[in-house]
């Protein structure tokens, strides 16, 4: 399973990224975004599996196990810090159960909620240990690919190290970018090129840019171009369909599935191998994105 993922990418195959299960469970299963996702998955296992299955049916090659909030510091905000293993293992297993032959179970390490010294107060060891604590149940649960996303590129690097110390599974390292007066940068102020090069140096097998404030139109292509200049690894791009607005008490995302799908060829031509949609992208968005990717593969 593991060698085939990277082999396929290195052979030039294009793929569809995982669906944003944390927002799809709101859209499809009525889950309110209050409360902890890891706990919701644990308490609503059938509903979660249905959503993961639906993302595969929509064309996603990677299955998001919904584990991004299960780091101990994030769980502690809900008094659930002793649930790292249980939530992560269960979610990974549930995802594996519905994963087809040629698709991949992906465990996610999400934003840790703390900053590294000296700006913050988290030590290297605290970061490393919290990442290790999440990776072990992913491995036990049958994960195929490990994905890490942090606002701080340096935390991604620490997590990549933990993953590579614990297993040989492929690792996707992701940055979150914001366009500004001085170019496209992470929240920590690191330019896209430098942040990308750093992840390659840190040992990522695939390097991505997701979420943040990168518009699917314009910003996304510019981001992929910068990433392509900065490393030789397969690239992943997964923007949000814009920033949601509350209209008549309903959440509405400004970029439609059709508008988003129109952009995908541009991302691929700029160098992306894996394309998708992040927070707010619906199953419809994913279906149309997938159609473009498939057509390019054939």
């Amino acid at each position: 399973m593991q060698s085939s993922f990277l082999e396929r990418l290195n052979d030039g195959e294009l793929m569809v990224a995982d669906g944003p299960v944390h927002t799809i469970v709101e859209q499809e299963k009525g889950r309110a975004l209050e409360g902890h996702l890891g706990e919701w998955i644990f308490d609503n296992q059938d509903d979660f599996q249905a959503v993961v299955k639906a993302t595969y049916a929509a064309g996603c090659d990677l299955g998001h196990a919904g584990t991004q909030g299960n780091g101990r510091y994030r769980l502690a905000d809900y008094g659930l810090e002793d649930k790292v293993y249980e939530f992560t293992f269960t979610a990974t297993q549930l995802t594996k159960e519905v994963t087809p032959e040629n698709c991949y179970v992906m465990g996610t390490i999400g934003i840790s909620g703390r900053f590294l010294e000296p700006a913050g107060d988290m030590t290297f060891d605290e970061a490393y240990d919290s990442f290790k604590e999440q990776i072990i149940p992913m491995i036990d649960g049958g994960v195929d690919v490990i994905r890490i996303v942090e606002n701080d590129t340096e935390q991604v690097v620490i997590a990549i190290k933990a993953a590579n110390d614990l297993c040989d599974l492929p690792v996707i390292g992701q940055n979150v970018f914001y366009p500004g007066k001085r170019g496209i940068r992470t929240l920590m102020g690191v330019e896209a090129k430098a942040a990308t090069a750093r992840l390659e140096e840190g040992g990522a097998d695939v390097i991505g840019a997701v979420c943040g404030d990168i518009s699917p139109m314009g910003d996304a292509i510019a981001t992929v171009k910068e990433m392509r200049q900065a490393c030789d690894k397969p690239l992943l791009i997964k923007p949000n369909p814009g920033m949601a607005e509350l209209i008549d008490d309903q959440m509405v995302w400004p970029v439609t599935p059709e508008e988003m799908a129109k952009e995908v060829l541009g991302w691929i031509d700029a160098g992306a191998s894996i394309a998708g949609g992040c927070c707010g992208a619906s199953l419809e968005h994913l279906k149309l994105i997938s159609a473009v990717v498939r057509s390019k593969n054939n």
């Binding site: 209050e34 409360g35 905000d77 900053f115 700006a119 929240l187 920590m188 102020g189 920033m243 509350l246």
Partner: protein, 219 residues
């Protein structure tokens, strides 16, 4: 005054031990404690706010400057209390990310900017219930600042405002809202007293609201 400029500059560069050293040196030289506060620390943090807003400084640097500010304040605080005993700095701002939301970076930056401007700030953390906001407001705050990053959790701001109304605190307490998904329009719809689009603009907004309450926010 050169030494005060040096404090401001070292604060802007996040040099906490230099700031400590220079603050102490200024006091030993006989510089008035309020001048050290305003001309040194607050002046430095104001520069940080402007540079951050203009994308000349980024988050980690702002955090380091905040640490340098804290280091300087650790020396000044007891002296300020002593000097101003009998006079109270009346303005207190309570901050929190609303229930169900754990995003804290924006709120923390707001806290840094407000402390940097000399205000007393109580940070309730994240995932804060309406009851906790009410309790903190009843405990002597003039401004309740609420933050949300998600559109769903943003909805609970309305609940918080209603809770503050029911507790009879409206009029005594001003409600300020912010966060990436917030807009002036939404703030107006839910009846908030103020909206700030970013941490850089929050200090002026807070001063405006305190003036509406006729609250003295200076010593």
């Amino acid at each position: 005054m050169e030494i005060l400029e040096a404090i401001a500059e070292n604060l802007r560069f996040g040099e906490a031990s230099k700031v400590e050293e220079l603050v102490q040196a200024a006091l030993d030289d006989g510089v008035d404690v309020d001048d050290v506060l305003q001309g040194g620390l607050i002046s430095g943090m104001t520069t940080v706010g402007i540079l951050f807003r203009d994308e000349e400084m980024f988050l980690p640097e702002v955090m380091l400057s905040a640490k340098a500010m804290d280091a300087g304040m650790a020396i000044l605080e007891p002296l300020l209390l002593l000097k101003h005993s009998g006079k109270k700095k009346e303005a207190k701002i309570v901050l929190g990310t609303v229930v169900g939301d754990v995003h804290s970076i924006g709120k923390n930056l707001v806290g840094i900017m407000l402390k940097g401007a000399g205000f007393e700030v109580e940070d309730l953390g994240v995932n804060v219930s309406p009851e906790k906001f009410v309790e903190a407001a009843a405990g002597g705050a003039q401004i309740v600042g609420m933050s949300a990053l998600l559109t769903t959790t943003m909805r609970s701001m309305k609940t918080n405002i209603e809770a503050l109304d029911s507790a009879g605190l409206r009029g005594k307490v001003k409600i300020l809202v912010g966060g990436a998904v917030l807009t002036q329009k939404y703030a107006d719809e839910i009846g908030a007293d103020g909206y700030a689009p970013d941490a850089g603009s929050v200090v002026d907004k807070v001063k405006e609201l305190l003036e509406q309450l006729n609250v003295n926010y200076l010593y």
